[in-house]
């Protein structure tokens, strides 16, 4: 029998937690890391963003409207796709749209399966379930897609002679970069597979920890966490495959040769 209920955090307790920032600030100041300004700005942003999202989620949960939820998720996909491609170097074209398509497709396919078939809330689009599930999928797929894209371009950049040699053998663009595409998909999937290996031994995932803190029986929290982890793995795999499958063609021109932006670097 579990009599545990979650302990609400008062404003005073919340304010007290800010003292922890002082520890980080003190270390930054002592070692002259130059991070103090970023730390203060980051703390303020985190507080404001989380407070706002708290109100927004409360409002969306109360609305319980399918169209609003769909719009919110599409907006999340848009932001995630921008973040996924922003820091990828050596990209000869805009990958934003391809990233958005890959993220949306992988997230919606896996997310809908999990929500409708596995968790089955009432109604099926219940925002308390849909938004956190899609959020977790997006966060992980976003990082995986960024890793895959970065790996694909860096591999091709460093193997231009090999790719052109394969083209001279009569290989198609796909055949000429297939090995690098495989490496790119593997690079995107590896962190997720690694986390499957060590979960429960090295780390207790945030979602599971949150549910336990909120009073859920650990055995129930574990079930949710398992579903979350396998759905993330599936979404990451689909997302990585889609992003490299859609974007590799952009490295080639209509003559099925490498574009100048790739060749000249």
């Amino acid at each position: 029998m579990n009599n545990y209920t979650y302990i609400p955090i008062s404003n005073l307790q919340l304010a007290f937690s800010v003292l922890l920032v002082l520890i980080t600030g003190l270390i930054s100041a002592l070692l002259k890391l130059g991070l103090l300004k970023s730390l203060i700005w980051g703390t303020i942003r985190a507080f404001v963003q989380l407070t706002l999202i708290g109100y927004v989620l409360t409002y969306i949960f109360a609305l319980n409207n399918l169209i609003v939820i769909a719009m919110v998720i599409l907006f999340m996909c848009f932001v995630a796709s921008r973040e996924a491609t922003r820091r990828v170097k050596n990209v000869p074209h805009h990958t934003g749209i391809l990233s958005f398509l890959s993220l949306s497709a992988s997230t919606f396919v896996v997310g809908l399966i999990v929500v409708i078939v596995i968790i089955s809330p009432q109604p099926w689009y219940s925002p308390q379930v849909v938004i956190p599930i899609f959020g977790m999928l997006l966060g992980n797929s976003m990082n995986a897609i960024a890793l895959s894209l970065d790996r694909m371009y860096s591999e091709v950049h460093s193997h231009i002679d090999e790719v052109e040699q394969l083209l001279c053998f009569g290989a198609t663009p796909w055949e000429s970069v297939l090995n690098y595409i495989k490496n790119a998909v593997a690079a995107g999937m590896t962190p997720t597979i690694n986390s499957l290996m060590v979960v429960g031994l090295v780390s207790l995932p945030g979602m599971m920890t949150g549910q336990i803190l909120a009073g859920m029986n650990p055995q129930s929290a574990v079930r949710y966490q398992f579903i979350v982890m396998v759905m993330i793995a599936a979404s990451v795999a689909i997302g990585c495959l889609l992003i490299v499958g859609l974007s590799y063609k952009k490295m080639f021109n209509e003559e099925m040769a490498l574009v100048d932006e790739i060749r000249k670097n």
């Binding site: 002679d161 040699q165 001279c168 053998f169 009569g170 290989a171 003559e255 040769a257 060749r263 000249k264």
Partner: protein, 220 residues
């Protein structure tokens, strides 16, 4: 009369220095066209345009009376085959590297790999058959350059585009390669376009004509 291989006003600008190359040339079966010119004149770029690895901004390439645009790039590159100056070897043994074009290309998968030709080419350019089981990555620069040439010949192209084929070779190996090229081009309908800085290479090649590439400057 239909030209065997001809390119006309093939033009490409270099972004770095505003210069450009614009060249025309022709080569008949059994003949060799030697491409010469100062460093940076665009000799390698010309070969890559002919291999369709670099798109020319203007100009025309005709092959057996057909415009290049009527032939798919993948098929073109197996018939008009480019061999880079820096030899590219893939992980695996030397023999696996020789067989690789027949595995990766659906166009060449219909052709039969000739072990007999492989052994004959090896003998002609002084590479021992025992080397076939050696990891290609362990070959010296000169060995890899000769191996890359053999791999190209085994694909049985009709036009060979060679970028400095003797750059990594010493005296005996160089002579063997020149001899092999003279023999290869004399058989059936074949031609070679070769970039070379070495006077002795060009003087020892048979039926050779010379195209001197001049550097153009933007605005000229």
């Amino acid at each position: 009369m239909t030209q065997f291989f001809q390119f006309t006003n093939l033009c490409r600008h270099f972004e770095q220095n505003g210069r450009y190359i614009m060249e025309s040339g022709t080569v008949e079966p059994g003949h060799i066209l030697a491409i010469r010119g100062p460093s940076g004149a665009g000799k390698s770029t010309l070969l890559k345009m002919l291999a369709r690895l670099v798109i020319p901004e203007s100009g025309e390439i005709m092959y057996r009376g057909q415009s290049w645009q009527t032939i798919a790039p993948m098929e073109w590159r197996t018939r008009v085959h480019y061999v880079a100056q820096k030899p590219v070897m893939f992980p695996g043994t030397l023999e696996e590297n020789f067989r690789m074009p027949f595995k990766v290309s659906s166009i060449l998968s219909d052709k039969v790999f000739s072990t007999e030709n492989m052994l004959q080419y090896l003998a002609e350019i002084d590479l021992p058959p025992s080397m076939l089981s050696q990891e290609a990555g362990t070959l010296s620069g000169g060995e890899a350059a000769r191996a890359a040439l053999i791999r190209a010949l085994l694909m049985e192209p009709e036009i060979l585009l060679l970028d400095e084929p003797t750059a990594y070779l010493d005296g005996d190996s160089r002579a063997a390669v020149i001899n092999l090229l003279n023999q290869w081009v004399a058989v059936q309908e074949r031609a070679i376009l070769v970039v070379s800085h070495k006077d002795e290479d060009i003087s020892e090649l048979n039926k050779v004509s010379i195209l001197t590439v001049a550097v153009g400057k933007a605005g000229e």
